[in-house]
Subunit: 104 residues, 2 copies
């Protein structure tokens, strides 16, 4: 559905999860944790305050799901332009990466 016009700086194999205001943070968190058990990074895309909020909550929940793993998660937010039904919208892209846990 969405097309991101600026993929050059992005790893083309990044796994993208689209989040809406109606998304369940727990479900997104489960999907995100599942992806990050297999890969180094994933990407959440959200348009609007409600969607961005669900995406951030999902990352917080995914961190708790991965509490017993050897890595924590960090996220890097940025703006991207996406085209939806021919209209350009500004979305938030949250690149989520693994980070090794430091000793407590």
């Amino acid at each position: 559905m969405n097309e991101t016009p600026n993929p050059p700086s992005r790893n083309p194999t990044t796994h993208i999860l689209k989040v809406s205001a109606q998304s369940s943070p727990n479900s997104v968190a489960g999907a995100l944790a599942g992806v990050l058990r297999e890969r180094d990074n994933a990407e959440l895309q959200a348009i609007g305050a409600g969607a961005t909020n669900q995406a951030v909550k999902a990352i917080a929940i995914a961190r708790s799901y991965l509490e017993s793993s050897e890595f924590d998660l960090v996220c890097i937010p940025e703006f991207i332009d996406v085209e939806i039904d021919g209209k350009e919208r500004t979305a938030i892209r949250l690149l989520v990466e693994r980070r090794p846990r430091t000793a407590a």
Copy 2:
């Protein structure tokens, strides 16, 4: 105003910026970039979808403000309980940290 009841795991010198739905992302970004030019980390606190959205936008903008510096920003979201006017609320805490830029 707000009290965070669980500071033990937190660096007590972390600089906290409280963000509301009415906060200007550009202003918060300016404050955040200013703090992170001087220190390794800062913390944004937001309650509600509108506030969380402004906080995430502020981090994205702060990253662009720091584009010419030797470090980028990452954020680590988590839930915290805060007390406001005697009522317990769940807030989002976004710990923002510097990260050295990797070679392009």
